[in-house]
Symmetry: C2
DNA sequence: ATTCATAAGGTGTATATACACCTAAATCGG
DNA sequence: CCGATTTAGGTGTATATACACCTTATGAAT
């Protein structure tokens, strides 16, 4: 190390959060690999299975995701025929729902997700889930 | 909720980690906004300031980032003239270093980063940093 | 009813991320 | 020395993320 000027930045919480998310995502993605679903996609399908149907705004709110990000994340699932979009009564609203094919894909991935989740639960301290949940409510 | 089949997925640690990283990144990015640097870019410049110089592999290892991701993340910093790349003695190796201009940009951003870091430290539990650090070592 | 504000959502653009594959340089075994 | 292997790094492609801006539809005020 040449200087001491930026040593404090080693403790950057943003860096730490991003690095943790990268590592955890890679871990889950590798477990889910044979299902053909990425972590983000599995999360979206699981949400839609639970919710039944949801507007883009509702889903983005629940998932803590920018609306435009969610919109873009839906694209590969639409291409794969895993989700479907219908106009709501209010014609500004787009209602998202999972298809039969999407349900099947999510069910096939579920045991793989369970393996990843179990392994990750064992590796992280018990308070990790709560800490992450809290962190998602900053700002 | 229509079904109970995927309720367990609400606790997905990958979802939680990604959502937390999104929220924290948005918070830091907004603080850093007037500096013109994104969180990832600030982290890279701070690392280079501390390291003095580094090969692509060394930097990727330290930052817990895929080598190819780091390579791509360098592009906007190269365009902005904030970093410079020289060939090492071993001609396969590319040595990365911060420029005078990059140093100035990082110094201008430092007080903004400190504000964000202070606010985030106050909002998260004391163990958060350690938990995130631990999480980055899964896989 | 007309105007205006608001609400839902998409598009353009830029960055971030990672896997599969590729190239070039160094090194190792004979 | 020479062919095989390993190592450093880049490229092609796909997904993920978010801000600025735009369009359209609804609702409110007069």
């Amino acid at each position: 190390m040449n200087q001491t000027e930026f040593l404090e930045c080693d403790d950057c919480l943003c860096f730490a959060a991003r690095r943790a998310a990268r590592a955890i995502t890679q871990f889950y993605d590798r477990q889910l690999r044979e299902s053909g679903l990425r972590s983000t996609q599995f999360t979206l399908l699981a949400f839609l299975l639970n919710a039944g149907t949801s507007s883009v705004n509702q889903a983005a709110e629940y998932l803590g995701m920018e609306r435009t990000t969610l919109s873009r994340n839906l694209e590969p699932l639409l291409s794969a025929g895993y989700v479907r979009v219908d106009s709501g009564e209010d014609r500004r609203v787009k209602m998202i729902a999972i298809t039969t094919k999407g349900r099947a894909a999510a069910r096939a991935a579920l045991p793989l997700w369970r393996q990843a989740q179990q392994a990750m639960t064992a590796r992280l301290p018990p308070a990790a889930a709560q800490t992450l949940s809290l962190a998602s409510r900053v700002g």
